[in-house]
Amino acid sequence: MTSTSSSPAAPAAKSGRNEILYFAFRNTKLVIGAVVFLIFLLGAIFGPMLATHEPLTFDAPPGLPPSADYWFGTTLFGQDVFSQFVHGLRSSFIVGALGGITAAVIGMLVGFFAGYRGGIVDEVLNMLTNVVLVIPTFAVLLVVAAYLSVRGLGTEAMFIGLTSWPWAARAIRAQTFSLTSRDFVGMARLNGESTFRIIFGEIAPNMSSYLVMTFILLFGGAILTAATLDFIGLGPTDSISLGLMMNFSVMNAALQLGMWWWFVPPGLAITAIVGSLYVMNVGLDEVFNPKLRAL
């Protein structure tokens, strides 16, 4: 956000950005988090190309432990776990990105306009935020699930995005309130700038690091929520995901049968992805906030 609006401000701004990079590469939390996250991201992008079997076809001997042919073993019904795993990773990232972006866009728009405009606009938007905040998400989803016979990844991502933005909106609203009282916002108004320009050209760049962190948390939250929904059987009906894999393994007593290869990889992957995002968030906080930098 900063780089687009201040392109002619190259030489001195560079030192500021170099400083951020300097601390970013020396922050262990950020580096470890980013590496873990990248490994899974690469797995999601290239994994399905490596998979030699289809994820949902029953063409392998059932219940095989990991082997050279079936890297992560097979399910009770003769499906390749590795293929399911990499396709599941891909759908987790898609849900995370779509749900995270949806929630971030709504949260930012609501937060910025409520905080900048104040008054009646703030009252209305704040009421909307509070209403969405207390909606019992799972109850609504049960109703939605009853009406939709085929649920895709997109529907799930949209649902997560549309229900997870309130905390982001509230946090951004609070930040916007404090920035709006600064004189440079008054100056921007004297410059005849439009509300849109003032919000995204003057106020938002001042909290860009905060917005990045908000997005990361929303992204991780969306992946986690998707896994939960899938696990209780409210996930997509037309594709595979990490949560669905765990759902199938539990429903078919993988634990009792000792088929650890069925549920350990998806469980581990969800934990690692969400964990790496949260660790990255702490690391980024330290990078952006000089007071937290451990030297």
Partner: protein
């Protein structure tokens, strides 16, 4: 040109915003072209709020403010922009007036984009250079971040920003309080030149010396109420209201020290605040608030 007609400002207060607090009471004055008016008062007297209302950054609760006969609270979009093309302001705190993450030159690019996009590049460059030189700055200053400059330099940039626009009314909130003595006189003389070219200025200040040096008219505000106003020589030459007198008495002099008794007397400044009363014409061009 600018008329402030019986303007009051109420702020909501209390837990549910049910109570209303009146911070500006019936302020009524006029600024003519080429006239310099000083709004003088202690901290919290509402002088900054009056300035912000004229700049339309704070809404008017009662009364109205007109510019060339046009009620400014009705302005929107293009007409508001054309108002800002004629009326500009400089704020109290120069550090907070610049967006800390951008170079200061961005302000001038914004001005150009919003108001002067019809100007060709060469004319714009000369105009910008002239405005910067007028406040004693070089164009190189534009390539710095706000934190790399002093408060005085930033304040001069803000003045240059207003100059570039070739405006008709400047609302200057404590405009020279951050400047050192030598720059201060340069800026004051510059503003004097502009005044002769027809620029009206509203100085919002607590600095009586500044008011005396440059203003045609003085408005003394106390707790949101005009207690005395009129031509500078009349108000300062023959102050009538006790608040004005105590303000003038409270100006320290370089060559004398206050005695203990005098210091105690100065405490009376705060105690002269009274509500009610009305302005009467003490003599021509000199109004005083009386309480009866």
């Amino acid at each position: 040109m600018l008329k402030v007609e019986n303007v009051s400002k109420l702020f909501r207060s209390g837990a549910f915003g049910g109570k209303k607090k009146r911070v500006i009471h019936d302020v009524d004055f006029e600024v003519k072209p080429g006239e310099v008016v000083s709004l003088i008062g202690e901290s919290g007297s509402g002088k900054t709020t009056v300035g912000r209302m004229i700049l339309r950054l704070t809404s008017v609760s009662e009364g109205r403010i007109t510019f060339d006969g046009e009620d400014i609270s009705t302005l929107k979009g293009a007409s508001l922009k054309s108002y800002y093309r004629r009326v500009q302001g400089v704020f109290q705190d120069p550090f907070s007036s610049f967006n800390p993450i951008f170079k200061v030159g961005r302000v001038f690019r914004t001005i150009r984009r919003e108001f002067l996009s019809d100007l060709d590049a060469a004319t714009w460059e000369t105009r910008l250079t002239d405005a910067l030189n007028a406040v004693g700055l070089e164009t190189a200053a534009l390539d710095k971040f706000p934190h790399q400059m002093s408060g005085g330099q930033l304040q001069r940039l803000l003045i240059a920003r207003a100059l570039v626009l070739d405006i008709r009314l400047l609302v200057a909130d404590e405009i020279i309080s951050m400047l050192d003595a030598s720059t201060r006189i340069d800026v004051l003389n510059l503003l004097g030149d502009l005044k002769r070219q027809g620029l009206s200025i509203i100085f919002v200040t607590h600095d009586l010396a500044l008011g005396n040096y440059i203003s045609d008219r003085i408005i003394i505000l106390q707790k949101g109420v005009i207690v005395e106003m009129g031509a500078t020589d009349r108000v300062f030459g023959d102050p009538q209201h006790p608040y004005t007198r105590s303000l003038l008495d409270a100006v320290p002099h370089l060559h004398e020290r206050w005695s203990e008794e005098e210091l105690k007397d100065l405490g009376l400044v705060a105690d002269t605040a009274r509500s009610g009363g009305h302005l009467i014409e003490h003599r021509e061009n000199h109004l005083v608030r009386v309480y009866s």
